[in-house]
Subunit: 212 residues, 2 copies
Amino acid sequence: MPVEMQSTLEPRKTPVQARSTVTVEAIAEAAIQVLLSHGVERLTTTRVAERAGVSVGTLYQYYPNKQALLFAVLEAHLDKVTALLSRACEESHGLPIKAMVKHVIEAFVDAKMERTDVSMALYKIAAELGGVKVVRSVGERSHRTIEQMLMTVPGVQFEDVKFTARMMMATMAGTTRNVLEAGATPALVKGLRKHLVLLCQSYLQSCNAHAV
Amino acid sequence: MPVEMQSTLEPRKTPVQARSTVTVEAIAEAAIQVLLSHGVERLTTTRVAERAGVSVGTLYQYYPNKQALLFAVLEAHLDKVTALLSRACEESHGLPIKAMVKHVIEAFVDAKMERTDVSMALYKIAAELGGVKVVRSVGERSHRTIEQMLMTVPGVQFEDVKFTARMMMATMAGTTRNVLEAGATPALVKGLRKHLVLLCQSYLQSCNAHAV
DNA sequence: TCCAAACCTGAAGCTTCCTTCATAAACCTG
DNA sequence: CAGGTTTATGAAGGAAGCTTCAGGTTTGGA
């Protein structure tokens, strides 16, 4: 039987004054830093608060519990990446397939690489209790977006758009993750940007039911 | 500063009699079950022992600490998958590229899907303290294996074998993971098997420096 | 200036968990 | 079956973490 979620994940109180807004952001940022320097297992609310320069009590004023804090951080990042991906999809509506793929892939890689530290830290949260659920729900939105985009390609008819979109997403996410976990050196990132485009272009080409 | 490993991860005692061999295996299996039903965060040594039908003390007789237990389980699985992958690579030495890819990919997918529960449970461990390290070191072995295999393809010359091998591996791992986390239904697995082959075939083809 | 609301503090309660060890049972060999 | 070895037990020590709350400080408007 899967574990049940914490009862409340909603923020306990929303910032009103400017200082508390700063505090809330500092806490979220601190969570990422602690995640990176100590690992999930040793991420404690006290340590996060300390790193953020506030007391534990303050943390609990805005996040009902530890899990809610982690989820909030995860969700913020996923939302951001998803938004950038969606925008790239819209922008490439009607483009020929090769250009479309290039545009979307590069947008994705850039979004993920903008803050490599955050991306890496979040893989750890995602593996936690229920984290998979969050990832999956955001993933589904992106999935639909890509699927729709693929359907607008002029002169191309895919055999199974749904699955093709899934493979493309999984490939993007998987290879990017691999590079991130290998250290995300500039050389690697550059290689990823180029090869991932090539990879998806050739895949989509060969999935096209219409002749070559 | 990254977290340091536990001092000892080596087994404290190796089974001599038959009953203890059974016990050790039961404990490892129980760890997987608990991981799946309760999540990493709620995996406790007591719970694992209970599930295995032994007392905590027994667990500590063979595993020096909790982390060692988790690592042992992770490593066993990775070794198994790696071995199967290597074998597939050797078997396809000299084959034309399309056949080679098909053989290797299918071996990998089958290895991962043989026990979907284990594969899924281990993603959680891998995210833990140092787990990334274990995965990376095993991954490097596979990387070299695949790289060498790619170099034996008759009539094909890759521009950057090293990176190409990396992309291929990351894609295999990434898409397989995606399907696993989506529930690994027979339909999905079937689709993965087919599309992943197609994906890698077309990618490798387009990486080939020798014309089409 | 004054006050209510917003914000912050951090010691302490409570729970959970890891790990040990003294003791007991099971096994095996001669 | 006797003695030594291997294996199993589980209560309890001790450490660590999550969360609360009673009381203090700061802010911003009237």
